[in-house]
């Protein structure tokens, strides 16, 4: 009989997978995916945005499987996304056509169309609501009925698209130069890896897929002292925009021939920053510039932060890490950063052995230990 390999690894993995299932189920209660979809809108929106996959039901499933860990849920959806063939690209989405559920401006008190608070926690008091401990489906149904009675009808999902943009007003007033439409065919960072200097479409894509916390922190660094003045929320919109694809057999020229395939909920932030513009005869004047943020779902902090980072990256002063394209865009992806962190848990004994060899060589006074001189080994292994 010959020697055989020790099959420790296979068994250890199997048992570890059982453990993880045990942890998820040990209290004898499992989550219903429809309940996650109904009650965890915030987490679902965050995960759809970071995964860049718009599907509430799959996001809910990922949350269940990941036991609520956002990084793990995003990981699951991204891996699933890799298996989906890219059949169509949508036509450009126009946020002017948004059915607005919420819309605010910090720049003007009276914006045409008015401020629409919509659903927001901004003015809620963060006091734990202990009544929710025992809330039932029946309680919810009763409340909904009363709410509909109050309104005279069930609230509609957003207003018809007729709201003027704050941006338009500024342009009308001559306070902002109307940016020219950039109709360059956008790059797709999931189909061709990002190149540097990055195109605007590459930048915006990486930012919108970024990990919420990272995008927020880096934008915070911008407004706290790494490169820019205090931005203002020109306009923040939450609502639904229609998505259309061209007739696969048509020429793709005529919007009339396109198919409406549904709508997606997005948050759009148009951030205003004042900037100096050169005048004739060497003078300068102030004008407004824009930073743009757009995310899947209701992700207001992230959309605002994205707008700040977009503007910051356009400045490109490499003294500030927050204006350095590679620094920002290479490091904000959840799957990449968490993956590389977790890889540190993998065994590295080959590389470590190699390093140990180098270290020993530099200690010219210390010879390689004989089999019994192991103090140094112990020291290095600590």
């Amino acid at each position: 009989m010959g020697y055989v390999a020790v099959k420790g690894g296979t068994l250890a993995i199997e048992e570890s997978l059982k453990r993880i299932k045990f942890e998820r189920t040990k209290q004898g209660k499992v989550l219903d995916v429809t309940r996650i979809e109904g009650g965890m809108r915030g987490l679902i929106d965050q995960i759809m945005s970071e995964s860049s996959l718009y599907d509430e039901t799959l996001a809910a499933l990922a949350i269940k499987q990941a036991e609520g860990s956002p990084e793990e849920a995003v990981f699951l959806l991204r891996a699933y996304r890799s298996t989906l063939p890219r059949k169509h690209y949508s036509r450009a989405v126009h946020t002017r056509e948004m059915r607005v559920e919420r819309r605010i401006s910090a720049s003007f008190k009276d914006i045409p169309g008015g401020q629409i608070l919509g659903a927001s926690v901004d003015y809620s008091h963060r006091l734990l609501d202990f009544d929710l401990m025992h809330e039932t489906d029946e309680d919810a149904a009763r409340w909904l009925e009363a709410f509909a009675g109050e309104l005279g009808s069930f609230p509609e999902a957003g207003r018809p698209p007729e709201l003027m943009k704050v941006m338009d007003y500024l342009i009308e007033q001559g306070l902002m130069i109307s940016p020219a439409d950039d109709n360059t065919e956008p790059d797709d960072v999931t189909r061709r890896s990002i190149t540097f200097p990055a195109s605007r479409s590459q930048k915006l894509q990486v930012l919108t897929r970024g990990q919420t916390g990272t995008v927020t922190s880096l934008a915070y660094a911008v407004i706290r002292g790494y490169g820019v003045s205090h931005p203002t929320v020109g306009e923040l919109r939450v609502g639904r925009v229609p998505v259309c694809i061209d007739d696969p057999l048509g020429s793709g020229e005529d919007a009339e021939d396109s198919y409406y395939i549904g709508e997606i909920k997005v948050t759009e932030a148009e951030m205003l920053m004042s900037a100096a513009v050169a005048k004739e005869q060497g003078g300068k004047e102030l004008s407004f510039e824009i930073g743009y943020g757009l995310c899947y779902g209701q992700n207001e902090t992230k959309a605002i932060a994205m707008g700040i980072l977009d503007h910051s990256l356009e400045q490109g002063d490499s003294r500030f890490p927050t204006q350095d394209q590679e620094f920002v865009l290479y490091h904000i992806d959840s799957v990449e950063s968490t993956g590389f962190m977790s890889h540190l848990k993998l065994p590295h004994y080959v590389t470590f052995q190699s390093k140990m060899n180098d270290v020993r060589k530099t200690k010219t006074t210390v010879t390689t230990p004989k089999a019994d001189e192991t103090e140094e080994v112990k020291e290095l292994c600590k």
């Binding site: 996304r81 890799s82 993956g339 993998l346 390689t368």
Partner: protein, 287 residues
Amino acid sequence: MQINYNFAFFDESSKREIRRATLKAIAVPGYQVPFASREMPIARGWGTGGLQLTLSLVGLDDIVKVIDQGSDESVNAVSIKKLVQNTTDIRTTDETAKATLIQSRHRVPEIPLRAGQILVLQVPMPEPLRMYEPREAETKKLHAEKEYSGAWLMLFEQIMNYGSMTTGADHPVMVHDRYVMAPSPIPKFDNAKLNSSEALILLGAGREKKIYAVPPYTKVVSLDFEDYPFETESFEDRSCRLCGSTGVFMDELYDDASGTAYFQCNDTSYCLERMNEQSWREGAESR
């Protein structure tokens, strides 16, 4: 809802795209070809680059071997092997000679690879110049201009500071007199195996989205100086406690009970084969 994944996980157009990048890499030895790296069911940093190469290349007749740190049975090797098997149903093996495609992290097997085999190495940091130049846009230029003085300077500074080159694993190599390349963190001991290899060697970096290659019979030289020649890790006077091998890369292990260090082949399948050979020989002799 039941999802049935395609053969080898990816959709066919994704596989084609990865193979196209691979062909380009083979055509330009040592050059890092960017590719649209996909997110995989295993974590970034755990071999997604290697896995994408493997999955884009395997066919029904392939026999796959996966090793991590020299071991077929390391948990990550097992996990990758399981994923390949679950999505392809092809055969796997521990025996280096039997495999048509070998995915490895941090090692080149001890048994010399032969023509027709493909070695896929997992790469965490594909850019050999990253140590002194953090910007991708800059390193791309340096490679284009074959401007490698920084790489030499880095080694020179190590010699000045420590008296020897202290690159650890991943000692940079010059490929075909053109590109400086990170051989992935294989120990210096394995660098020589890349030179004029009979097998095709592919290197995949998933997170960094790069594929590069050392095609068969390519000249690969470890960077060094005339007066400070390249030296591999030394296991002088050491032999494997299990099979008695010398001249192989070894793990240094620590025996708690006796308080002594001992050595063992890092390539577990090589060690096992040696032990079996010996036991058969002994068996034949005693008969």
